[in-house]
């Protein structure tokens, strides 16, 4: 059996799309998100487990995980 | 010709500006004046800019839309940018103090910048009464209606149980203006 290595992904937000509904905050299992000034804020980026639940349920596509750019291409 | 004042209230969807417009118009009617209230909204406006219009007059009101606003209240930057052009030269511009404007704006209009939203959120702990705070400020600056009519109109429209809160909001609004008109304060 192959074990897939979970690639570390970066959590990104698009402030102009976020409407501050708080869904991502409520359903983040590690509670690293918060609403500030009606917009999502990543409070503890380093604790993110890349579970993707915020991305999956954000009605506005305003928070998502992005593959880390390959260093050699950087 | 009869006295007429045209007021435009601009902000974002949930700020209760249409209610504010209704209250203002009803206050005018309470004291025997003529008044209309109009609005524009749209599906696009859901998250976006929303406006309410009030015209108060001693006589007939023919065209029931604001043409050259005597007063513009803006609670958001977007609304300010969008509706500024409809304010007449030297008209009264009432702004929430979170809004930035260009220096020329000060030249063209009588600008009053006051912390409406902050007053509602911090002093009154309820952002939803920002509209009432704003109404009070408009009243003080325009004298379009009396304090009594305004209060009566407010109390007629707000949800039961929130009367005290709304009375306080009016007081805070009145005060915001007194503070600026009384610079010693």
């Amino acid at each position: 059996m192959m074990v897939k290595e979970r690639k570390k992904k970066q959590l990104k937000t698009i402030t102009s799309w976020c409407k501050g509904c708080g869904i991502c905050v409520a359903f983040c299992p590690v509670k690293i998100l918060a609403i500030e000034n009606d917009k999502v804020q990543i409070v503890n980026p380093e604790k993110c487990t890349s579970c993707g639940l915020c991305e999956m349920r954000c009605p506005d596509f305003a928070i998502y995980l992005e593959e880390q750019e390959d260093e050699t291409n950087g | 010709m009869s006295e007429k004042i045209e007021v435009r209230l601009g902000g974002s969807g949930g700020q209760g500006l249409i209610l504010a417009g209704i209250i203002l118009a009803e206050a005018a009617i309470l004291e025997g004046k003529n008044a209309i209230q109009a609005q524009s909204y749209g599906p696009e406006a859901r998250g976006g800019a929303s406006k309410a219009e009030v015209i108060i007059s001693d006589g007939e009101i023919d065209f029931p839309k604001v043409q050259n606003a005597d007063v513009l209240l803006a609670l958001t930057q977007k609304a300010c940018d969008k509706y500024l052009s409809s304010l007449k030269m030297n008209g009264l511009l009432i702004l929430d103090d979170s809004i930035d404007i260009s220096p020329t704006t000060f030249e063209n209009f009588q600008v009053v910048r006051i912390p409406i939203i902050q007053t509602a959120t911090e002093k009154l702990k309820r952002v939803m009464v920002a509209n009432i705070v704003a109404l009070a400020a408009i009243r003080e600056l325009t004298q379009a209606v009396t304090r009594e009519s305004l209060e009566a109109a407010v109390l007629k429209r707000v949800p039961p149980g929130t009367e005290t809160l709304n009375r306080q909001a009016l007081q805070e609004g009145y005060q915001l203006i007194q503070l600026i008109s009384d610079p010693t304060h």
Binding site: K19, G20, M56, C58, D60, F61, Y64 | R46
Partner: protein, 279 residues
């Protein structure tokens, strides 16, 4: 120019975002789910056609980067039937609201189901008319309120899944804006299914439904679905008291039956065979 995750960039007209829906509206979650399902199936995107009616939900077509058709209120399935029959190679998906689909559009729903035409319908069911400001819909739960039902509805709500099955749909499933992985799976299965597929996606309208019925904000609605949806596979295993006031999600119907457009093609083929045979 394009912004957002790869999924969004690849499937949406991202320059048109953010969409017009209210903060926390479940429609965004479901629309993303539709795109994810299309992505997962690796469909040829130039052959995907998404058709909608009128309503908040139906605005989805304006954002999704496929052949998109935003029609008249209630008629999405009728337009879609024309598109599909005229060009069977297209993968036709209908996005509709509970009002659009089961009020004014109810007849087209039952007839599309009866024909078993190969169209996948996703009903964004927020149990109310969102676009027009919170009137009750045929999906508004019994005794709940809308602006046109100020004393609570007295007409029972449709079970959209049962209605579709009763009319002849061959794939029928339900999920919610909370249960996204299932939702995506059902939409995928529905699209892959040859015949009429109905996926009811329970959505949240915090602005009207939530407010009118004191169900709270977007997060509360999500939590409500989380806690009250029971997988149909568990239906028999749970004691009755655990099922009270709950609703079921899952796949309700899945069967293979002759599909309309293919059956029509057979008529054409037969006639053309007859013609050649006679030569």
């Amino acid at each position: 120019m394009s912004q957002g995750s790869q999924l969004i960039q690849d499937n949406f007209r991202s320059h048109r975002l953010p969409h017009i829906w209210c903060p926390g509206c479940g429609h965004g979650v479901i629309m993303r789910g539709v795109a994810q399902a299309i992505e997962n199936l690796k469909l040829d995107k130039t052959k995907v056609c998404v058709v909608s009616g009128i309503g908040c939900s139906s605005r989805a077509t304006g954002y999704m980067n496929f052949n998109t058709l935003h029609t008249t209120h209630g008629r999405a399935l009728a337009f879609a039937t024309g598109v599909k029959l005229a060009r069977p190679e297209l993968e036709v998906i209908v996005i509709t609201g509970d009002g659009d689909c089961t009020a004014i559009g109810g007849n087209h729903l039952i007839h599309s189901a009866r024909r078993n035409i190969d169209i996948t319908t996703i009903v964004f069911n927020n149990k109310i008319y969102g676009m027009t400001g919170g009137q009750s819909s045929p999906a508004t739960p019994y005794h709940e309120k809308g602006t046109t039902a100020p004393y609570g509805t007295i007409d029972p709500d449709f079970d959209i899944c049962k209605l579709s099955t009763g009319a002849g749909a061959t794939y029928v499933a339900r999920s919610t804006a909370y249960h996204v992985p299932q939702l995506i799976k059902y939409i995928q299965t529905g699209i892959a299914h040859k015949g009429f597929a109905m996926i009811e996606a329970v959505s949240g309208c915090p602005t009207y439904y939530g407010r009118k019925n004191k169900k709270g904000n977007a997060v509360d609605l999500m939590n409500y679905y989380k806690e009250n949806a029971i997988d149909i596979k568990m239906a028999d295993k749970l004691p009755p008291e655990k099922k009270e006031d709950k609703f079921f999600i899952g796949e309700f119907t899945r069967e293979e039956k002759p599909e309309y457009v293919s059956e029509y093609q057979k008529i054409i083929d037969n006639l053309q065979k007859e013609l050649t045979d006679h030569e």
